[in-house]
């Protein structure tokens, strides 16, 4: 268990990427990636909540009785989500309006509860912070990737920077979300398979 702190951080980006490997947090992934910017905003908000809740839960992990730990985690996470919601409402109103319902829904993002249960309840404060940060960054990166793909195909731009005139509007609509994510997942699976094939041949 003496994982280096660096490994704790990068774990969430590649090896245990929340979206492509663990298949968690699907709802916000599909709903908020209509553009790269929205994906980035959602990802960063989730990262903030992840980091803060991981720290807090790690701090109080020895004081929470086992039987009520899940509801306690939920209350802690919900409090941070409410804070982020109000901050976004005040300071980045346009993004807040676009993300809408999905900001309070960060509470039920399985990633946050999952990491609280799997990591923060058993590890020290700084490592829990790194784990939360890593998972959040992995989540954000995946969101930005999906958002860029959808925005590029659907609007011909990335981060509102106009690049092409191809506009497949369907990509911005719900079906496009499912299909784009499915194709990306298949692509990453393919990379994973290719990686393990040379190892098999060497045996």
């Amino acid at each position: 268990m003496a994982e280096s702190k660096f490994k704790v951080l990068t774990n969430g980006i590649f090896k245990q990427n929340p979206i492509f490997i663990q298949v968690l947090g699907m709802c916000p992934t599909l709903a908020t990636t209509t553009s790269a910017e929205n994906g980035l905003g959602m990802g960063l908000a989730t990262t903030a909540v992840l980091a803060m809740s991981n720290i807090t839960i790690s701090l109080v992990r020895n004081f929470i009785p086992d039987k009520i730990r899940i509801p306690s985690y939920i209350v802690i996470i919900a409090s941070f989500v409410t804070m982020i919601d109000m901050l976004m409402h005040g300071f980045i109103y346009d993004l807040w309006k676009t993300l809408g319902l999905f900001i309070p829904l960060i509470v039920v993002n399985c990633i946050i509860l999952g990491r609280a249960e799997a990591f923060a309840s058993k590890n020290g404060v700084f490592r829990s912070f790194l784990d939360g940060l890593g998972m959040g960054l992995g989540f954000t990166a995946s969101l930005v990737l999906l958002g860029s793909v959808r925005e590029f195909l659907g609007n011909g731009s990335i981060f509102n920077y106009h690049l092409s005139d191809v506009k497949m509007f369907a990509m911005i609509l719900p079906p496009g979300a499912f299909i784009a994510l499915g194709m990306l997942a298949a692509f990453f699976n393919y990379l994973g398979i290719k990686r393990s094939k040379p190892k098999k041949a060497a045996k």
Binding site: I70, T82, L113
Partner: protein
């Protein structure tokens, strides 16, 4: 009045299907839909929790607004949902152990089902009356059930087809969901709310 209720009901099931249009409840949608009988059991549990949760949260929302503490909405709502799911678990264990065993891990997972919290928040956002809330919840549950059961029947068949290696599992499920979502888009504009 009655027409408005019918509109809300239809909208929740077909036009703005919670899973395929609103992207709520995707995790159980992808996770539980491998077999049709678990899909049916899950749908029933979710619909029940949806209706109960909507009623209780709607009532509590009045208290929150009256006391001037609307910012507590998210925390209060999720607590109610968590409590309700816990209660359903306890009740099912006694009343129907077979269903309890069949649902297994998915029962506590209903708490993190964004569809239920999303539904509760939507009811409040759209200022529905209590009756409209109940109808919306019933529709949402049925819409979820429809999407889930349809999807599970397709997936059961896909198990037997020759899916290329990289696409196996989540990837082909997502693409299929996309096609299903496209089909449901055909209902757009069916009812003007």
């Amino acid at each position: 009045m009655a027409t408005r209720l019918v509109f809300i009901f239809l909208s929740a099931i077909l036009i703005n299907n919670f899973v395929l249009s609103r992207f709520l409840g995707i995790c159980p949608f992808l996770g539980v839909s491998k077999k049709t009988d678990t899909a049916v059991g899950m749908s029933i549990a979710v619909t029940f929790v949806m209706i109960m949760a909507s009623i209780i949260t709607w009532l509590l929302n009045i208290a929150l607004d009256a006391l001037g503490i609307p910012f507590l909405r998210t925390i209060v709502f999720i607590l109610i949902i968590a409590t309700l799911v816990q209660f359903v678990e306890i009740f099912l264990k006694k009343a129907s152990p077979s269903l309890y065993d069949a649902l297994g891990i998915f029962l506590p997972l209903i708490t993190t089902n964004c569809a239920i919290l999303g539904l509760a928040l939507l009811n409040v956002q759209q200022n529905y009356t209590l009756l409209e809330t109940i109808v919306n919840a019933a529709g949402a549950g049925l819409g979820f059930a429809l999407a889930l059961i349809l999807f599970s029947t397709i997936r059961e068949r896909m198990e037997l087809s020759g899916v290329p290696e990289p696409f196996k599992g989540t990837a082909i499920a997502l693409i299929t969901a996309g096609l299903l979502s496209m089909a449901f888009m055909g209902f757009q504009g069916l009812v003007k709310l």
